[in-house]
């Protein structure tokens, strides 16, 4: 039953993707057209780096709305202290020469960051160093320290949006992190520290067919603590179930991954229409440079449809992995970004799950704010359902958990969208749960 529903969603997913590709272009009668683009003030930044962020080319229609969007995009690259668009009359009536004047940033910048992640919980990066566009080729380079209630360590990221003048993006990450993994043993929460150090190389496309694919390789080492602590009384214990005990000790991993993806959303942070989804396959093998051997497949699809000023959002996530997958690479259920109404990972079986289903339906209603893409206050009504299983249990026996609730998302300067969700689990109707997070859950 679940498989047939999944097939149906796959069908709609690709049908919508196809229709998005076939949308006709609009006529340009009576509009201004770009004759030429002139870039001033760029001493180190290559002109193609700036042009990459523009939504128009020579011969395209030109409107003030394009300027507003592209100005915002260029400013948020952090490459420039200031950006100014102006125009000059072109050689013919109706043609314009677009002049973009920039003041470049030459020194590195310091950064403060924070947020909420499914793995990390609440975290802060009190200090980070960014040296973007150092050589004028439009790369992003950052180093930051991270501390949080379930995480601590360092991350370095290098991102080159275009390599060899192609539509391929390259990203390189180094992570040295300690993470606290939440377990539930007999309904008691326990924390186990997992130390990881890893490198991750990612190649992704930005145009044409390539934009539907990304892939990469990651390697590193992982070492779970041989003890865990119950959060209630801080007492340590080492008597883990076999599924955890057999994966203790230091392990190396080498993994290739490939992702088929699409993103047709009209806005990344408050999508009102479109699809965002991916089907990813990850494969870890001793031949790839490690001790671990497993295959993991995840489908995560999200559909957004505006209903007047409100938005109906749907998420469907299903995932499966090999029996040999160590517990720290398996799946979990419950929490603010997973199945609301239940504590973080509280529905996860001991040793974590090897198959997962998660579905959410949410109706988002802007309550205040003039900009429909950036409402100040958003109300939400939602329904979440999901199940998780292990190799030791039969798929048909997996219990389906569900919850319904309501919430508010409040746009706070700097921090972004603060989320307050109140959820009532169907299985424990008297156990109402409050979730605080950043951003929409999906």
């Amino acid at each position: 039953m679940k498989i047939s529903i999944l097939k149906k969603y796959f069908f709609y997913f690709f049908l919508l993707l196809l229709s998005a590709q076939l949308a006709p272009a609009q006529e340009s009668g009576g509009q201004l057209v770009v004759e030429r683009i002139e870039i001033l003030g760029a001493r180190k930044t290559k002109s193609q780096v700036i042009q990459r962020y523009l939504s128009f080319r020579e011969g395209d229609r030109f409107t003030p709305e394009l300027v507003e969007n592209d100005y915002q995009t260029l400013i948020s690259t952090n490459f420039f202290k200031s950006v100014e668009f102006s125009t000059k009359p072109g050689g013919e009536k109706g043609k314009v020469i677009v002049v973009i004047e920039v003041k470049e940033r030459f020194s590195p910048t310091l950064e403060f960051a924070g947020g909420y992640g499914e793995l990390e919980g609440w975290y802060l990066s009190p200090i980070g160093l960014r040296y973007d566009n150092l050589l004028g080729s439009g790369h992003f380079l950052g180093l930051r320290a991270i501390i949080g209630d379930r995480v601590g360590g360092f991350n370095m990221r290098f991102q080159q949006p275009t390599i060899f003048n192609s539509s391929l993006n390259f990203q390189f990450d180094i992570d040295i992190l300690g993470r606290d993994l939440i377990h539930y043993f007999d309904n008691r929460e326990a924390i186990q520290r997992i130390a990881t150090a890893g490198l991750r190389f990612t190649l992704s496309g930005s145009r044409g067919v390539a934009k539907y694919f990304s892939g990469g390789y990651q390697t590193g080492a992982v070492e779970p603590d041989s003890t865990a602590k119950f959060t209630l009384n801080d007492s340590a214990f080492a008597a883990f179930p076999t599924v955890i005990a057999q994966n203790l000790g230091k392990k190396k991993w080498g993994m290739f991954w490939l992702r088929l993806q699409t993103d047709t959303r009209d806005n990344v942070f408050f999508p009102r229409k479109g699809i965002w989804g991916a089907l990813s396959v990850e494969m870890a093998e001793p031949n790839f440079g490690g001790d671990l051997q497993f295959t993991r497949t995840i489908f995560d699809g999200r559909l957004y449809q505006n209903l007047g000023s409100s938005v109906l959002a749907l998420r469907l996530k299903t995932a499966t992995t090999s029996q040999t997958t160590p517990f720290y690479e398996r799946f979990y259920l419950g929490g603010a970004y997973s199945l609301r109404g239940f504590a973080e990972r509280s529905l996860t079986p001991a040793g974590y799950g090897t198959r997962l289903y998660l579905g959410s339906l949410e109706w988002r209603i802007p309550l205040t704010g003039r900009d429909p893409q950036k409402p100040g206050l958003i109300g939400a009504i939602f329904f979440d359902a999901g199940s998780i299983g292990t190799p030791e249990t039969k798929r048909d026996d997996d219990e389906t958990f569900s919850a319904f609730g309501f919430g508010f998302r409040w746009r706070v300067p700097v921090v972004g969208l603060l989320r307050f969700d109140f959820a009532y689990p169907k299985q424990r109707p008297d156990d109402f749960r409050f979730h605080l997070g950043i951003g929409h859950p999906f």
Binding site: G30, L32, F62, P64, V67, E68, I75, S76, N78, S82, V83, E84, F85, S86, T87, K88, P89, G90, K93, V96, I97, P108, T109, L110, E111, F112, A113, G114, G115, Y116, G117, E118, L119, E120, R130, R259, Q261, V268, F269, W276, G277, S280, I298, F299, D300, R302, K317, A319, Y337, R411, P413, V414, V415, G416, L417, G437, I438, G439, H440, P441
Partner: protein, 214 residues
């Protein structure tokens, strides 16, 4: 020889003129506030309104915005209220006329000279209801104007990066979800402690003579 020297002087004067024109920023020549007909009315005279960059933007058919930033002060220096007004200018290439838009009202002029004249002087424009002011106090009005090509949104850099700072950490579908914010500390520090540049295309602040309502 004399001819060549004359040519040299001409080029020098031309260069001076070019330098002067390039550095052109708008200037508020006079600002006068007085009560009248239930409202506080303000008269403003401006010069150097349109730099060559603004002129070519307008002539190419793209809009420009004149933003008036008023501050009502209780003399000598206590800021009571802020008010912003915008005047949008657009050259209609196909009908060859200039359109001015202000608070929903439209006006058309045929030539650039007329446009400049219309935009450079405002007589007794209503700003605030007098009921908001006290007859016991002495007030002054400060004004800064800015002429911005294409869109007024190009003049909101601080607001823009503060708002954009929440737009980070979006994870890919299928990956563990993470959402957060990022704040450029260097930009924040330089905003509060760095050299204060006048916004591009903006005039200096001008202040009206003190006035009182009856």
């Amino acid at each position: 020889m004399t001819m060549r020297r004359f040519e040299g002087i001409k080029i020098f004067l031309l260069l001076l003129l070019v330098a002067e024109t390039t550095a052109q920023t708008p200037r508020v020549v006079s600002i006068l506030a007085k009560p009248g007909d239930g409202d506080l009315a303000v008269s403003v005279q401006l010069v150097n309104l349109f730099s060559p960059k603004i002129v070519s933007t307008i002539r190419s058919g793209m809009p420009a915005v004149i933003r008036f930033d008023f501050r009502l002060l209780e003399a000598p220096d206590r800021e009571l209220q802020q008010a912003t007004r915008s005047l949008n200018i657009l050259y209609d290439l196909w009908n060859e006329r200039y359109r001015l838009q202000n608070a929903g009202r439209e006006q058309f002029v045929a030539t650039f000279a007329e446009l400049e004249k219309t935009c450079s002087a405002f007589e007794e424009t209503k700003l605030l209801p007098l009921s908001r002011l006290s007859s016991q106090k002495i007030y002054q009005l400060r004004l800064q104007i800015a002429v911005i090509p294409i869109s007024a949104k190009q003049d909101q850099q601080l607001r823009d990066w503060l708002a954009a700072s929440d737009d980070t950490e979006e994870s890919a579908p299928g990956e563990d979800r993470a959402a957060g914010f990022r704040l450029n500390l260097s930009q924040l520090l330089s905003f509060f402690w760095g050299k204060k540049d006048r916004p591009y295309g903006a005039s200096d602040w001008a202040i009206s003579p003190p006035f009182q309502v009856e």
